[in-house]
């Protein structure tokens, strides 16, 4: 087991751009850390630098107490599970899983024992003599994880391991990965662009954007107290509604903001911003209620679309005087407005987020996080 320290970690390709702009991150021993972000944000590059598959252009990387910038991949004590599984097609499952130990010149009996034990944990004992082409996607994924387990690494690295699986298998494997982490209690770093995987698996999440980390925190912390508009918009489905607004005035009772379309809302918090400052109001879909008549702090809108998802309904409405669509969700049992109906949307004021013109969250906004 080992903790990782990334200190001002940078990656610049030869005659190319800088793709990682100095990352600082401490990953605790035994922690399940998820790197999440859109395509091209640098999460996989960072993982590959940790694995030793990419040269580090600047900064320091330590695994345990050891600086490993120039240590070859095999000697870093890491094992990696690839998106494509990367099973050797000419070897059987047994040979695939034991390949690392064979290269390390371990005795045959020891290799066999380790392979059998890992196969038992992953319930793939009956597949040991098969070649990868005779396995399903889920089975291949298990073998890839098994190959990592056999090496007893200090750190497991997962590069979007579930993205090639179908939806139901993905859920199943997600649960199994969480169980595996609990059983092995080893440090795991998991790269994904799927926020559901990030939220459900991670002890902590690092949100990447443009080669930088936007925020690191527990899933709930990130969801309830996003540091900026990017994090707020990236986590959550449907994503957070962003409504352009202006801060009008502040008083002891709260702050008045005016949305496009001249709707006024009074928020309970006070913000240290000049009157007239452009801001963005962020409201999660589950924090919006609707009603059929006008009321204070309610946004007039017309319903564009109602989506029935079984357990819940998502309603998309266009607010008066705004280009943006506002999405809000309701449990399936509740009555939803009809398409074209005139509605007034009431945001839950205590759960509203405010972002300044640079997209940074204003202190005091968002849901209280313990």
């Amino acid at each position: 087991m080992a903790e990782l320290k990334l200190k001002n970690l940078q990656k610049t390709y030869e005659d190319g751009p800088t793709v990682i702009h100095g990352i600082d991150l401490d990953i605790r021993d035994g922690e399940f850390m998820v790197f999440v972000g859109p395509s091209g944000c640098g999460k996989t590059t960072t993982l590959r630098m940790i694995a030793g598959l990419e040269d580090i252009s600047g900064g320091d990387l330590s695994i345990g107490q050891r600086r490993v910038n120039d240590v070859p991949a095999a000697k870093r004590g890491v094992a990696m599970v690839f998106q494509s599984y990367a099973l050797y097609p000419h070897m059987t499952v047994r040979e695939n899983m034991g390949f690392g130990l064979k290269l390390a010149k371990k005795p045959k009996a020891e290799i066999n024992e380790a392979v059998e034990r890992a196969a038992q944990v992953l319930q793939i004992t009956h597949l040991l003599e098969r070649k990868p082409k005779a396995l399903s996607g889920g089975q291949r994924q298990r073998v890839a994880i098994g190959r990592a387990i056999v090496r007893k690494p200090d750190v497991f690295l997962f590069d979007e391991p579930l993205s090639n699986l179908d939806a139901s298998l993905r859920v199943q494997m997600r649960i199994e990965l969480a169980k595996l982490h609990k059983d092995l209690a080893t440090t795991m770093i998991y790269v994904t662009h799927d926020q559901v995987e990030a939220m459900t698996l991670g002890d902590r999440i690092a949100v990447f954007n443009g080669g930088r980390i936007e925020q690191v925190g527990t899933p709930l912390e990130l969801y309830q107290q996003p540091a900026n508009q990017f994090v707020a918009g990236f986590l959550g489905s449907p994503k957070m509604n962003f409504l352009p607004a202006q801060l009008r005035s502040g008083s002891n009772s709260g702050s008045d903001i005016v949305l496009a379309g001249n709707t006024s809302i009074t928020l309970p918090q006070q913000y240290r911003l000049q009157s007239g400052s452009p801001i963005t109001l962020g409201v999660r879909p589950e924090h919006i209620a609707w009603q059929g008549q006008a009321e204070d702090n309610a946004i007039p809108a017309s319903v564009d679309l109602v989506e029935h998802l079984g357990g819940e309904q998502i309603i998309y409405a266009r607010a008066d005087g705004m280009d943006t669509q506002i999405a809000f969700s309701l449990p399936s049992k509740e009555t939803a407005p009809h398409r074209g109906e005139r509605v007034w949307l009431k945001p839950e004021l205590a759960a509203c987020h405010l972002f300044d013109a640079a997209g940074l969250a204003l202190p005091g906004s968002g849901q209280p996080y313990p």
């Binding site: 095999a74 690839f82 494509s84 099973l87 050797y88 097609p89 290269l103």
Partner: protein, 297 residues
């Protein structure tokens, strides 16, 4: 209940219409493909006919060898010409020499071309593209241009009249390097990364991952090299001076005789030369084609 019972019955008229539709679709398909088949048939005849002509000549015992067009079937067929081949030359010794030269060329080519292609495909070093370009450029030159230089080299190394002398200049071919480079490039990078994380060094990646995965290309290259080495005539006849070292392709020249040209016996010798390689190719053509898949995609 059987499946047939559960299916709705098709009215006879609609069944007939369906059959008519299928028939006309098949007819349209055949008409569309007819020109392709005709062209391929013509090409096949042009390719195969010289071999057939040689076989007919070897099996015939009467008639004019030089008559044109040649007869399609052997006249008074007999194996007498083949028997004369065995009586005239030490065919088995020539076979042995051919096997030795071809085998050594195949093994050497696979080793040299794989080792040359791997860094060109998978390693980053200055001048990589230039080196590959230079190798490919040698394909433009006819092999005969190298004979003089190669012969001087082989002579200086005192390798004339030896298998090594025949084999050595043929080992590093541009086609082989190109074929293997393409095969190595087709191996997904993730497999190499996985091997690296597993602890494999560069040699182990080459030996335990890349080579096994490049088997189809190795097979294709082996067959291609075998055919070329088996059939080569000029270079071995330049290097080899002792008749007991001749490969089959050179040895059959003894069949022509000093004072008469025995065309039918030479044809029988040619047939006996071609048969082994033909059999090998018949059984391995599947691998040959598969091996070229990666090179041409």
């Amino acid at each position: 209940m059987s499946q047939a019972q559960t299916m709705p019955a098709i009215a006879p008229s609609s069944a007939t219409a369906l059959q008519r539709g299928l028939r006309s679709a098949r007819l349209r398909r055949i008409v569309r493909r007819l020109p392709h088949y005709l062209l391929l048939s013509v090409l096949a005849i042009i390719t195969v006919y010289p071999f057939w002509w040689t076989l007919v000549t070897a099996l015939s015992t009467t008639g004019d060898v030089y008559s044109f067009p040649p007869p399609l079937w052997p006249q008074d067929p007999s194996l007498v010409n083949f028997i004369e081949v065995f009586d005239t030359i030490d065919l088995l010794a020539f076979y042995k020499n051919s096997l030795l030269i071809s085998g050594a060329t195949v093994v050497g080519t696979l080793v040299i071309c794989s080792l040359a292609a791997y860094p060109l495909a998978r390693m980053q070093f200055p001048g990589r593209k230039l080196v590959f370009g230079a190798i490919i450029a040698t394909m433009i030159l006819p092999a005969e241009i190298n004979f003089l230089v190669n012969f001087i080299t082989v002579s200086k190394l005192q390798l004339t009249d030896s298998v090594t002398g025949v084999v050595l200049p043929n080992l590093a071919g541009a086609v082989g390097i190109f074929l293997m480079k393409q095969a190595f490039e087709a191996v997904p990078q993730d497999l190499i990364d996985a091997a690296r994380v597993d602890g494999a060094n560069e040699w182990e990646i080459f030996w335990k991952i890349m080579l096994p995965l490049a088997k189809p290309a190795l097979g294709a290259l082996a067959i291609l090299t075998l055919v070329t080495a088996w059939n080569q005539y000029i270079w071995p006849s330049v290097v080899m001076t002792s008749p007991e070292n001749f490969p089959l392709s050179v040895g059959v020249q003894y069949l022509s005789g000093s004072f008469s040209f025995k065309t039918r016996v030479v044809a029988a010798g040619a047939v006996l030369t071609v048969i082994p390689i033909l059999i090998v190719f018949l059984f391995t053509q599947r691998y040959f084609l598969r091996g070229f898949d990666g090179a041409v995609k």
